[in-house]
Symmetry: C2
Subunit: 255 residues, 2 copies
């Protein structure tokens, strides 16, 4: 079967300014591969309504699933939720379940019911038709509308949301990988042979990655696909290719 | 003056598969801010010719500068250079200076002139009109064509290329930041006051970032812009806002 596809949209000036090193892209890339919904594109965009709306509408038409991170907190720069409503052309309104949960939560705090103030009420306000994405860490949920899954930007909260979400998504065969590497080899020596191997395994994605370590420079070759036997066969051929250069080969990726 | 704008395009299946944690986005975000060419968008795209060509043509029309990373090595999955030529509608041909340099380099290796094989010759093949971006680490240069700057994906080589490139780019005023934070404060308590401060400083980008540390949770507020005095004034107001809650405030960002 053909795997469904994913796009991640990172929403936040802090990643674009360099203030924050994104950690969500790599986490989602791995997690989506595991459930057979390979990540095909990432956009990092600023907290600008027109940009968010236009980007969401472009990528939700193009990919089977869209995952957003960031911009769902209570402050003025958290505008993802209302922009998603605008993108879908639906009202942005209190989500009854989220509202009830958050009202009950804040009522129990020292400040009492007043703590569920307008800023926090925004976190319980969602596009009409949204269903909640629960998480074990924060009281504020993410949500799904159509094929768009809206999650927090804080990595540990995003990860908790994705842990819930992934069990509900229907993916294809998991994307798996096999690899080998050779210390001392250079990409320029194996490029032609590697290209020939790639041509014999059109279903695999054969990647070549030079590495530079204190223990030596070399090249790692990674075969990715849904068929383990094919990935193993391709890496066996790469092993022979490395050995034909007189280079030692180690199975797996360099540590 | 208005600052010129930048877009970064990360080209590589390895970032989308999760095999590689990107380190270039954050480096370029900071470096571009320093030279006053703020990063406005990032795309991470696969090694697919049509995607690369369409993305480059979209973003080079939209931003003042485009910086690509990845896909300029000698192997079959390195297709950035020919795709950039296709995007600009110019021939992809030997770049005389790069060709001469690389031929001389490989002639001195143990293998001799034959080491400058067709795979390595691809690294000296560029869109017509490209000018070289030198670097102190690898013999293969990056290049600039029009407003598109094509760099390596390996971080230390990319960084060496950017070190050369940044001296040639005409930016605007540097983007600087001022910050303060409060352990124990919650975003939901300061959201309204912060929104009011943002409204008084429309030229600044005021960001609110919750943090979760073993030493305590809290909120950091960062003001970014080109006017240091305004950024300092805004952070002074945020300090008063935090203090009005009875919270302690520390200047700068949490370590």
């Amino acid at each position: 079967m053909t795997n469904p596809t994913a796009c991640v949209v990172v929403i936040g000036n802090e990643v674009l300014s360099g203030r924050t090193q994104d950690a969500n892209i790599n986490f989602l890339a791995k997690g989506l591969g595991e459930i057979g919904i390979p990540l095909r594109e990432v956009r990092v965009i600023p907290d600008v309504p027109e940009t968010i709306i236009a980007t969401i509408n472009e990528v939700r038409a193009k990919y089977d699933h869209v995952f957003t991170t960031g911009g769902i907190g209570p402050t003025h720069d958290d505008i993802t939720s209302e922009c998603i409503a605008a993108a879908f052309g639906v009202p942005w309104e209190p989500q009854p379940e989220a509202w009830a949960r958050m009202a009950a939560h804040y009522a129990k705090t020292a400040e009492g019911a007043a703590a569920f103030n307008p800023a926090r009420q925004r976190m319980a306000t969602m596009p009409r038709g949204a269903s909640l994405i629960d998480n074990a860490i924060s009281i504020a949920p993410g949500f799904t509308i159509g094929n768009v899954h809206v999650m927090a930007g804080v990595p540990r909260i995003m990860q908790a949301m994705f842990a819930t979400l992934r069990t509900t998504l229907k993916g294809g065969d998991p994307i798996l990988s096999r690899a080998c590497y050779s210390v001392g080899a250079a990409e320029g020596q194996i490029a032609q042979g590697l290209s020939d191997i790639q041509a014999r395994y059109p279903d695999l994605d054969l990647g070549s990655y030079p590495f530079y370590r204190s223990t030596g420079n070399g090249v790692a070759i990674v075969a990715k696909g849904t068929d383990a036997a094919k990935a193993e066969a391709a890496i066996a051929e790469v092993t022979v290719l490395f050995e034909s250069l007189g280079a030692g080969v180690i199975q797996g990726e360099p540590a």
